[in-house]
């Protein structure tokens, strides 16, 4: 079972990004996704900077995938996605159908992130025929759904499609034209003053009773609780899942990965990640076919 690091969802200063990935180069992560997937205004890191990090990680024995923008509104954003898709050096993760279009036309194998809506084996079959080699299960789908999809894939004769499951981190739930971080500062997206760089792991949003609900991250809304199904790794492995994605909101994700790698090598369950999150609360409801915010089990 591979441990992968999802693309950094937050806006960090360039120095902090580089320092983080230098640590990642020595970590338990085997595959790393790089690139800006939330907002095109975040330009601390250019494509050249990401490529330099990618090569550094590769030299350290890591597999690297370049990830692309999820919500595309401007021509310039589309041009940037096209550029990443044409990089020729690293596999690209499509988070929007525009990237699927560019990659399939170029005839290169590609992968999809959790924001590409693939809810059935029949849908996967369509993209598989165009070069899809790995997909990330949409985060709201349960283990039951996953089992059915994988069984049906087998029945359809598709045996070479890898499955990755988002297993730890704040869940990406929605994308908007509006920037909620800017709105929180009384600003609009066009004059946002790059406010999101001030909240390195997003801004907690709670109900009026104080229950954690969401995390605000610019135009992206994440869960308020940290999703954690790391303890399901044996069940996933038995089903044929080949990779588990961890998504970090701070550098502690490196330690979570190390603990998880250790637990897997000891063939034990793993629930240690939960105790170190910066916001209260863990959840795993989606995996068990319930509301994502809920927590099942001990």
């Amino acid at each position: 079972m591979q441990i992968t690091l999802g693309p950094l969802l937050f806006f960090w200063p360039k120095k902090q990004v580089i320092a983080f990935y230098e640590q990642v180069a020595q970590s338990a992560f085997q595959r790393i996704y790089l690139g800006e997937v939330v907002c095109s205004k975040r330009r601390e890191m250019t494509l050249s900077d990401w490529l330099a990090l990618a090569r550094m990680l590769q030299v350290n024995g890591k597999e690297v995938v370049l990830s692309t923008l999820t919500l595309i509104e401007a021509e310039s954003e589309l041009a940037q996605v096209s550029k990443v898709c044409a990089n020729g050096e690293f596999v690209v993760e499509a988070n929007d159908m525009s990237a699927v279009h560019y990659l399939s036309k170029a005839g290169v194998p590609f992968v999809t992130g959790p924001s590409v809506n693939l809810y059935s084996a029949e849908a996967l079959q369509v993209l598989h025929g165009m070069g899809l080699k790995r997909w990330v299960l949409p985060v709201e789908l349960s283990f039951d759904h996953l089992q059915r999809i994988l069984a049906r894939l087998q029945a359809l004769g598709i045996g070479d499609l890898e499955t990755e499951v988002f297993s730890y981190g704040y869940l990406p739930l929605a994308y908007s034209a509006r920037c909620f971080t800017a709105r929180n500062d009384g600003l609009g997206k066009d004059n946002c003053q790059f406010s999101c760089i001030k909240s390195l792991s997003g801004i907690p949003l709670a109900t009026q009773e104080g229950d954690a609900l969401f995390t605000i991250n610019g135009i992206q809304t994440l869960s308020g609780s940290c999703h954690n199904v790391l303890d399901q790794w044996q069940v996933m492995q038995a089903e044929g899942v080949s990779a588990m994605r961890l998504s970090g909101h701070n550098a502690d994700i490196i330690r979570v990965a190390a603990d998880f790698a250790l637990a897997m090598s000891n063939n034990s369950g793993c629930g240690t990640g939960c105790r170190t999150v910066t916001q209260d609360g863990c959840c795993n409801g989606y995996w068990f076919g319930q509301a994502g915010v809920s927590q099942s089990g001990p």
């Binding site: 809506n117 029949e122 709201e140 739930l173 915010v293």
Partner: protein, 333 residues
């Protein structure tokens, strides 16, 4: 521009047509469409009746059928069946989002017009090209995330006709990729065609005011002089950094009556009224106002002015009794 109107049932369908709709869109009575509510939508028989009313009136109106949720692994055949019925009854177009539904429809019913649902979340010409090249879609409904200028730019490059939302309840998130609802209730538009479903709602009058909850979580609390609204998840008042406000969005409706000239000049083919869950009275009022506005524009494009009675009529029909241009206007973003 074609005026495309919602019909959750036969009375609403008749209201839409009688008040000037150029096209109506309906769904079947199951989870294959994104407004899967109890008591709403059309059985196969009703759909045939609808088709009859739509095609045989004094003006030929088009009927679109929305099969626009994502086909689930538990019962993929249900979507296949919905497509077959849509083709069988002779609907003017199928509105779909799921790759496998579009693939099936384009291969098995090549004469069935395919419209890309807003639930496909296609916001740019590369996505539109993908669906056009692989499935032959004729038209796409755009998510409400583009500014007017971006719509104009997209219309210049789009390989297909564009249909834009013109009036109705506003989704603040990009349609097709919002799962806030399933995070709190277990149900989302993509999985079961529901958002903030009624089964998860609770209204409670307390000493602090009327409280609305979804999945047990407090969405809003209304004082004695405030009108309590339905707890759609993104429209509550929440606490961020100690301050309580509509941190995501206030209840409001989209109204682009002002933009009719710009939308038309941009080359937009159709304007869509949201609201299959609305009453026949709502549909009648909204459609008649839009019909009057579009007719006035056609008669005198250079001299188009928005009639204040239209605006106040639409405001009365709006969420929170207020309207907005939404993402079409940059400052809103």
């Amino acid at each position: 521009m074609e005026l495309v109107c919602p019909a959750g049932n036969l009375p609403s369908l008749r209201a839409a047509i009688d008040n000037g709709a150029d096209a109506v869109y309906i769904g079947f009575r199951d989870g294959t469409n994104a407004r899967h509510f109890a008591g709403l939508n059309f059985s196969d028989q009703r759909a045939l009746k609808a088709l009859d009313y739509v095609h045989n009136g004094h003006k030929r109106v088009r009927l679109f059928v929305a099969v626009n949720t994502y086909a689930q692994a538990t019962n993929w055949q249900q979507w296949q069946r919905a497509v077959d019925i849509c083709a069988g009854i002779g609907a003017d177009a199928l509105i779909a989002a799921d790759l496998s539904v579009l693939d099936y429809a384009s291969k098995h019913h090549p004469n069935l017009n395919l419209h890309l649902s807003v639930q496909a979340s296609a916001t740019n010409h590369a996505s539109l090209s993908f669906y056009h090249e692989h499935f032959g879609i004729k038209r796409a409904v755009l998510p409400r995330v583009l500014s007017l200028k971006q719509v104009e730019q997209l219309a210049r490059k789009s390989p297909v006709e564009l249909e834009v939302f013109a009036f109705g309840s506003l989704c603040i998130m990009a349609e097709g990729r919002c799962i806030l609802s399933s995070y709190v209730t277990g149900e989302s538009p993509n999985t079961v065609g529901a958002c903030s479903p009624a089964a998860a709602v609770r209204w409670q009058q307390t000493a602090d005011g009327m409280e609305t909850r979804l999945g047990g979580l407090l969405i809003d609390r209304f004082g004695p002089h405030e009108q309590a609204g339905y707890p759609t998840l993104c429209k509550g008042r929440f606490r961020v950094n100690g301050k309580v406000s509509h941190a995501i969005e206030a209840p409001t409706s989209l109204n682009t009556l002002d933009l009719i000239p710009q939308l038309h000049r941009a080359g937009v083919s159709a304007v869509k009224i949201e609201g299959r869950q609305r009453s026949p009275a709502y549909v009648a009022e909204v459609v008649s106002i839009w019909r009057a506005a579009l007719d006035q524009y056609r008669k005198n494009p250079e001299g188009f002015t928005v009639n204040e009675r239209w605006m106040s009529g639409l405001a009365r029909m709006s969420e929170g009794s207020q309207t907005t241009l939404g993402a079409y206007s940059r400052p809103w973003q």
